[in-house]
Amino acid sequence: MAPRKSAASAGRRAGASKSAKSRSGKSAKPAIGTEIAEFDKEQELGVYREMLLIRRFEEKAGQLYGMGFIGGFCHLYIGQEAVITGIQHAMRDGDQLITGYRDHGHMLAAGMTARGVMAELTGRQSGYSRGKGGSMHMFSFEKNFFGGHGIVGAQVPLGTGLAFANRYRDNGNVSIAFYGDGASNQGQVYESFNMAELWELPVVYVVENNRYAMGTAVSRASAQTDFSQRGVSFNIPGYQVDGMDVRAVFAAAEAALEHARSGNGPIILEMLTYRYRGHSMSDPAKYRSKDEVQKMRSEHDPIEQVKVRLLEKGWASEDELKAIDKSVRDIVADSAEFAQTDPEPDPSELYTDILA
């Protein structure tokens, strides 16, 4: 698609002005990723509650998995809550989300109901995919959540295609494509980068670098471990962000969304984050030390950081935070109860939704 890219402009961009543009872009404002947004009380309480909901939901999902209510693969987002929460707060109505299989947090942040997600995890009829998708394959057209994809990296071209549609319709929306440090080594990611920059598509690529692709540490799988720089050969700017600090994520996401929305093409945000749990439920996590996990939990926990600020600033008391925790637990308990009692899909569902 070349509506904004006539032969003349293509020639200009092919020349030196492109790199000049990148340089001037970097020098004009503070580099993305260095800024920490100032949150007011309402924002702090909001992100606290939202991140807590994801964490409690995931803990409950882990528990239900242990009880046999959830089967198959189940990848928990615990530890990474600040990433989707900060980004979601920077999004506008109409912006689209798409991610891989560690997707429960993204769905809750997108506004999908805990009941609908949990019932899909247990394979019940009221699940978002009527029990036919499971943990890795859930969608909400209404919430602009485009999945939930089980093949590592496949969501990146798809998210680029969402951006293509935005550009085609010139609707001002931005697509946000999440993937992990593991997916960063898939060829289709670079095929997407090339087209996205070539066609100046409004897409923000978010690498959730949680340090391990299943059991393989990034340094064991990646020649270039700075994933923000993986777009360099396509002239795509990229920035590293403290993915454990929801305010840093928010600030970076705002700048990145603005970049993409203004017709500057794609941008990469590398979120430095960490997952506390194993890759999936059956991961003994022998590839890292307990101390490493414990250190992240005690020093960088995204939720604890907000809690400390709320208490220090006197924006909430311990009791008020406990009340938030209770209300979140109630939502999660309700979703778990619902997901255990909701019927399985009718056998007739076996043959529905294959073709229109």
Partner: protein, 459 residues
């Protein structure tokens, strides 16, 4: 109310395990996320984390216990203000958790859901008497189909390698860039996996992409996006999301381009639920079916053929000539034998029928047109009349479209058969380059004639 801590399942297949070690003891307080125990499964040693906050009131299963069933109560957690006295003497049974192994029971116990009856596919529209028939090449017919649909719907666009400025590697998109501009006729880099995914993503967002593969040989690079992203999305999303995309391009052997560029993918794609697979022969079918494919809300594999691009057929001059996907066409009527083919296979079938007619054997030639969903009723109706069936295709012989037809006709119309079904296909070899070997690798008219003679017991 004390909370039971249950023996967790730590893998999709775990039914029991060994409680290797308790890391917390009676009286210890725990918060969610604390590791409380280690469990050995057949695969690994795993940690068990607390989900709730409280104090360990009682350890029910001591460490070292083997064969602890999933969902057995292994400890009891006390909340604020609760004491060991609150723990019931009989530990309440765990909630009605189905053990993983038992979980599928409800479905298995019931009669298997019957596959729905095949949806009624309408017949070809009547062509009004006096309609002008215009000799048209398949190439032009395909282009006209795309142009008409693009005029009618701004959501339709075409993307692929060399589709725009080059006017199409095989000139199928000739003139489209001039009429519709670069927004809607999009040259892509050579990046099949990537642009197939971009097309599917655009379709998920509501556009109606026509994704051209320069040839379907290169679509193997894109197989994951076609199968896992396009074909399965409607099902996996419970009907919420879908990908109305047409993947089209030349398929099968061309001439002297050897193994990597000469392969028929009809049977490959026909394997996959969630796809429709169309493979036209005539220009009229190419036009009417491509228009239908672009309008269809499902992902479509539209298999063309380079050699057929230049063949000329009559196409009715109508404002909106659309044909039904999923409907075979009786290309030539006859009573002695049924020959089923599709795409370029029809050239062998047609010539064979002509030769056979000279021998007094009148073949009914059916052009399948759509491979999935397959119009088996039309084939079976014909077989009821002729009692004999020969299939013809260029693809490899194992798991071919012909073997699929043979299986289903055998299952559904066994009593009508007067002879075994014979399948004529390409040979079971990669396509050779040498002209003589290439000719040997492809099916030919004589093989079709021989097959018909065999099933009609003609000397």
């Amino acid at each position: 109310m004390p909370i039971d801590i249950l023996m967790p399942a730590l893998s999709p297949t775990m039914e029991e395990g060994t409680l290797a070690k308790w890391l917390k003891h009676e009286g210890d307080s725990v918060t969610s996320g604390d590791v409380i125990a280690e469990i050995e499964t057949d695969k690994a040693t795993m940690e068990v984390e607390a989900v709730d906050e409280g104090t360990i009131g009682k350890i029910v299963v001591p460490e070292g216990s083997e064969g602890v069933k999933v969902n057995a109560v292994i400890a009891v957690l006390l909340g604020d203000g609760e004491t060991a006295a609150d723990i019931g003497t009989e530990t309440p049974a765990a909630t009605p958790a189905p053990a993983p192994a038992e979980a599928p029971a409800p479905v298995a116990a019931e009669p298997a859901a019957a596959a729905p009856a095949t949806a009624e596919v309408p017949s070809d529209p009547d062509i009004p008497a006096g309609t002008e028939m215009v000799p048209t090449t398949v190439r032009e017919a395909l282009r006209d189909a795309m142009a008409e649909e693009m005029r009618a719907d701004d959501d339709v666009f075409v993307m692929g390698e060399e589709v725009a400025e080059y006017q199409g590697a095989y000139k199928v998109t000739q003139g489209l860039l001039d009429e519709f501009g670069a927004r809607r006729v999009v040259d892509t880099p050579i990046t099949e996996h990537g642009f197939a995914g971009v097309g599917v993503g655009a379709a998920m967002a509501g556009l109606k992409p026509i994704v051209e593969f320069m040839t379907f040989n290169f679509a193997m690079q894109a197989m994951d996006q076609i199968i896992n992203s396009a074909a399965k999305t409607r099902y996996m999303s419970g009907g919420q999301m879908h990908a109305p995309v047409v993947f089209r391009g030349p398929n099968g052997a061309a001439a002297r381009v050897a193994a990597q560029h000469s392969q028929c993918y009809a049977s490959w794609y026909s394997h996959v639920p969630g796809l429709k697979v169309v493979m036209p022969y005539t220009a009229a079918d190419a036009k009417g079916l491509l228009k239908a494919a672009i309008r269809d809300p499902n992902p479509i594999i539209f298999l063309e053929n380079e050699i057929l691009y230049g063949h000329t057929f009559d196409v009715p001059k109508l404002d909106d000539f659309v044909l039904p996907i999923g409907k075979a066409r009786i290309h030539r009527a006859g009573n002695d034998v049924t020959i089923v083919s599709f795409g370029i296979g029809m050239t062998y079938a047609e010539q064979a029928a002509e030769e056979l007619s000279g021998m007094g054997i009148e073949a009914e030639v059916i052009d399948l047109r759509t491979i999935r969903p397959m119009d088996l009723p039309t084939v079976i109706e014909s077989v009821k009349k002729t009692g004999r069936l020969v299939t013809v295709e260029e693809g490899f012989p194992q798991s071919s479209v012909g073997t699929e037809i043979a299986t289903r006709v055998m299952q559904q119309a066994f009593d009508y058969l007067d002879a075994p079904i014979l399948t004529v296909a390409g040979k079971d070899v990669p396509m050779p380059y040498a002209a003589n070997l290439e000719k040997l690798a492809l099916p030919n008219v004589a093989e079709v004639v021989d097959a018909v003679k065999a099933v009609t017991y003609t000397a």
